[in-house]
Symmetry: C2
Subunit: 220 residues, 2 copies
DNA sequence: TTGAACATAAACTGTCCAGTTCAGTTTTTT
DNA sequence: AAAAAACTGAACTGGACAGTTTATGTTCAA
């Protein structure tokens, strides 16, 4: 992705970023930007704040990134990737369906409720109007991957005769929603503090209960 | 709400707004602001746009509202109220639990997916950092009321022996989440167009199925 | 019909901030 | 060590925009 407009393709084989140029202090810039964007949002973050935080001159920043928007997109992309990467990993590790779902749900939910997870969510939602591509980027690298993995897991359960699901896509959409019950919106709006692990566990247990009550194959 | 800080309580009995002053063109201002805020978001909307849209002078606007933030808060408050008012109304009208849930869910969900509903959601989420009170205002007048009504409905079902629920608050949180499955986030991020009624009905049916499978009392 | 309250247009102030420029310094390469 | 490339800091530009002021016009109640 982001390959489209890349006229000057400096390093052929391993171009992790395009459009943006690299240099010695590239990572400093990215780290500073990440910190400030996550703290203040897109509008709230000034480029001067970022260069101060990054310990870099403004000219350097602008030698890497053509504008603030692209810098933000880069940061957001990285956050989104790290999200789904450590949030799901291997769900299929157990053949006890309930246990596997519970474990995956806990990891996922703890990320949803983390400071970074919430702030990414806030910014993406708030800016998705202004930057439509950021909404897609986020969706593809987060929710869509969760959906795909869950879908595959559920299909396996069906094939093994453990689950009974007519509409797997719907089910794969329902489960993550159930995991948010009551907590997520309140957190996003800043109406409560981080739930304890016990609280999350209770919600997850409820989610798995409801989910499996419907979809677990009746053993007779 | 918003009564707390009202030092100068001009009209005693019927003070629909406080802090803000009234005048002939008050509604014009509010309508224009509503339109522009809903189109462009808080940051994206300039006061000059609003007065142009409202057909009113800037000075007039500032004679009603001390600043842009309060104007936005007023508009948001009105939107939030209208939200829950037409979104839920009377759920308890039927004693067929499945039918009542389905009907209420359809109304609720259609609002979630409407342009206004989505835009309010986007703006509130995006600005809840900057204006913490707006998050609470929104939550109280929307989701919290849904929760309360649903809670009451479920309790009635339990009392009547139709439902069997250990944790009613959790259940009342789960149901609205189930109704969003797959659709809401995609809509918020602008990744798909408004779902057809049929599509919404399918999701709702799935939500009610899952929900009642767990919580409907087994009749034997 | 007069005067008080309301409204107007337009220019103005002050601030904030993205992005640029450039002369000079440091680092890397050869 | 010399040349090339990367980086710096600080000042500057230009534009956007919230909020104010002023001088003038309109409405309506008494």
């Amino acid at each position: 992705m982001f390959k489209e407009l890349n006229g000057t393709d400096e390093d052929d084989m391993n171009a992790p970023q395009a459009i943006v140029k690299h240099g010695r202090k590239f990572d400093q810039v990215l780290d500073g930007a990440r910190k400030v964007f996550m703290r203040d949002g897109f509008e709230g973050a000034s480029v001067d704040d970022i260069v101060r935080e990054a310990g870099v001159s403004k000219a350097t920043l602008y030698s890497y990134f053509p504008d603030k928007r692209l810098l933000f997109l880069e940061v957001a992309k990285i956050e989104c990737q790290s999200q789904s990467d450590d949030a799901i990993a291997e769900i299929a590790s157990s053949d006890d369906v309930r246990y596997a779902l519970t474990t995956a749900a806990k990891r996922m939910t703890r990320f949803f409720m983390s400071d970074v997870g919430l702030q990414v969510h806030r910014i993406i939602v708030g800016e998705s109007q202004r930057f439509p591509e950021i909404g897609r980027e986020f969706y593809e690298s987060g929710p869509a991957r969760v959906h795909a993995i869950l879908r595959q897991f559920l299909q396996k359960g069906v094939d093994a005769g453990k689950l009974e699901i007519e509409d797997i896509d719907l089910a794969a959409d329902q489960f993550p929603e159930l995991c948010k019950a009551g907590l997520h919106l309140k957190m996003v709006l800043g109406l409560r503090d981080t739930p304890s692990d016990a609280e999350i566990d209770r919600v997850i247990e409820g989610a798995v209960d409801v989910f499996l009550c419907k979809y677990e194959r009746r053993h007779r």
